[in-house]
């Protein structure tokens, strides 16, 4: 993993295409490039990191079974947890995101995406699946308490040949600029909305307080 430059905005792309090359990866690259341009246009520098899930497929299945991530998966989860913006791209499988895509977000620590701007995108063979952005991806990232940008990008195979008005390129540019606004508007990391195990290790809740809470009406 490249060292983190604190002066740069950190955007991570998560893509779940299965073939090589895949239209999902192609869309992910386009979104990444457009986002980099949009953030640069706002006078800021950006580091874009790409997390491709296909090489992590075995590690993801192992994580489901063992409860902990192997090294490379741990690095990918860590990158997403510390990103200031995330671009997610999934192929449509059976009218939803793919199982591989969902598994990555299933094993992400709770709270990892709290308040993080997320651009949702999907690919499919036909435009008939385009509502997958709104009936599958938006609810998932709403549950994860991410801030989903207004424009989602759906690309059917035919979109890669179209340059008409309302074309894929324009949707990509619009979504990227919306993400750039949210990412560069973030002057500090999003405030911790809930205590995570990491917080507890860094500053343990004193036992006297745990005793009081146990006898009170708190849930822990």
């Amino acid at each position: 993993m490249t060292p983190i430059n604190r002066d740069h905005r950190r955007v991570v792309i998560v893509s779940a295409g299965l073939s090589v090359p895949s239209s999902t990866r192609l869309l992910a690259d386009n979104l990444g490039a457009a986002t980099a341009r949009a953030i640069a246009a706002r006078g800021e520098e950006v580091d874009i990191q790409h997390v491709e899930l296909r090489p992590l497929a075995h590690a993801l299945a192992d994580h489901l079974l063992t409860g902990f991530p192997a090294t490379e998966l741990a690095a990918a989860l860590d990158a997403v947890s510390h990103a200031e913006g995330v671009i997610v791209v999934t192929p449509v499988f059976s009218a939803s995101y793919s199982g591989l895509f969902k598994t990555f977000f299933d094993v992400l620590e709770p709270g990892a995406l709290d308040g993080t701007p997320v651009l949702v995108a999907a690919t499919a063979g036909t435009a008939r699946h385009s509502l997958v952005l709104d009936h599958a991806l938006r609810p998932l990232f709403a549950y994860l308490r991410a801030v989903v940008v207004p424009t989602g990008v759906f690309a059917a195979s035919e979109d890669f040949g179209s340059t008409a008005d309302g074309s894929l390129d324009k949707r990509v540019e619009r979504a990227a600029s919306e993400l750039a606004v949210l990412v560069s508007g973030a002057t500090a990391p999003a405030p911790a909305l809930r205590r995570t195990p990491a917080d507890e290790f860094a500053a343990p809740t004193p036992f006297e307080q745990l005793l009081r809470e146990a006898g009170g009406d708190a849930v822990r």
Binding site: D62, G67, A70, E213
Partner: protein, 377 residues
């Protein structure tokens, strides 16, 4: 004769106690497809515990589960039965469910075993890992931490005060309640708190100056290192001594044969089909990612002694040897092999151990500490 149990041969008079812990799973042997009956597994557990004493191990600890495929319900009957057939073996739990078991019953049961075994018992408290156990026992799993905190606070009072008036959130109030029998010699069994990754439990162990145990088998060692470090720091914070003087226990999982490749070949089908991690990572990956050691006795010895590099000098090492469908004969062979490297393991743990690191806790050491306190006062 009440205090004569402990150390006729100086057996537990040592820095670290080494033993085994069992979860009591009834699992098919993947090499034969045969599943032992509950009766066979229960009797095997007793045979394994007795063998542990025979090969010179210090501790046998049993888990507690209230659902199939386990035979580890009612651990106190098992421990008392084993206690009656052993002379020096320390009996413990891994873990006692402090969340769903009434602390009033825990106080009675373990004080009783203390008397029956002349003080050869301690216990390790945990929250359990089976969701439905909570509702089965009338509890709410979302209150796991709070139950562990309140129930243990009551358990301590039941052992330290002859008559208790108590009112709390999770059980019926007590008025003028005297728990019987009183702890042996007025000294409560030593308590360990076990947790894989809940900092609140490390905090609890540190607050009371109790022991902290990390299961240290299914997860990367970094998890254990982080929890142990937190516990040690907070142990010092609460004024019980230096971080190095905190009382730490670790689990471990091993499979040995004289020839390391034989160990790997024999254990692989059990690993590949094991209840917890089976059908997941390869044996090789899991061995490098977690403390699991499969190989020659020398490899087991070296890996075990290396645990001190991140846990510091510690007081109890328990191995998991009887799970995943391993037949009783194989488990007993594992214990023979463990017995053979035991002197070298004890010597290794003693090497470089600072004098101010406390020895492992026993009933005798608790009595000695109390006498010292009384003299000082």
């Amino acid at each position: 004769m009440a205090t004569d149990w402990s150390d006729k041969e100086g057996k537990h008079d040592m820095g670290i106690q080494i033993g085994i812990f069992s979860v009591g799973d009834v699992t098919a042997d993947p090499t034969t497809g045969r599943t032992p009956s509950e009766h066979e597994r229960i009797k095997a557990t007793v045979a394994i515990a007795k063998k542990a004493e025979d090969v010179g191990l210090d501790v046998f600890a049993t888990g507690e589960h209230h659902n199939p495929p386990f035979i580890a319900s009612n651990p106190t009957a098992t421990l008392a039965y084993i206690g009656a057939q052993t002379e020096t073996l320390l009996l413990s739990t891994a873990t006692t469910l402090i969340t769903t078991t009434d602390p009033v019953l825990i106080a009675e049961d373990y004080a009783k075993i203390q008397h029956l075994t002349d003080g050869r018992v301690d216990l390790m408290l945990g929250r359990g890992n089976t969701g439905p156990v909570y509702p089965w026992f009338g509890k709410d799993i979302r209150q796991g931490i709070n139950l562990a905190i309140e129930n243990y606070a009551l358990l301590r009072r039941l052992w330290s005060e002859d008559v208790v008036d108590w009112e709390g959130r999770f059980r019926t109030p007590l008025q003028g309640y005297a728990s019987t029998p009183r702890p042996l010699d007025g000294v409560a069994p030593f308590v360990w708190h076990g947790s894989i990754r809940s900092p609140e439990i490390a905090e609890q162990a540190a607050y009371y100056g109790d022991g902290y145990f990390h299961n240290h088998i299914f997860w990367p060692a970094s998890h254990a290192a982080q929890m142990v470090q937190l516990y040690r720091d907070r142990f010092a914070h609460y004024g019980h001594g230096t971080p190095e003087q905190a009382i730490v226990g670790l689990g471990g999982q091993i499979f040995m044969r004289k020839n390391s490749q034989d160990a790997i070949n024999e254990f692989r089908p059990y690993f590949d089909n094991a209840p917890v991690y089976g059908h997941g990572p390869s044996l090789e990956d899991f061995t490098s990612q977690t403390p699991l050691t499969v190989g020659s006795p020398q490899q087991v010895l070296e890996r075990t002694l290396s645990f001190r590099e991140y846990a510091g000098d510690y007081q109890r090492q328990l191995f998991l040897v009887d799970h995943a469908g391993l037949p009783l004969k194989t488990v007993l062979e594992q214990l023979d092999l463990l017995g053979e490297i035991l002197p070298a393991m004890r010597a290794g743990f003693a090497e470089g151990r600072p004098a101010d690191v406390p020895d492992a806790p026993t009933h005798a050491s608790a009595l000695a500490a109390r006498e010292k306190e009384e003299v000082t006062v």
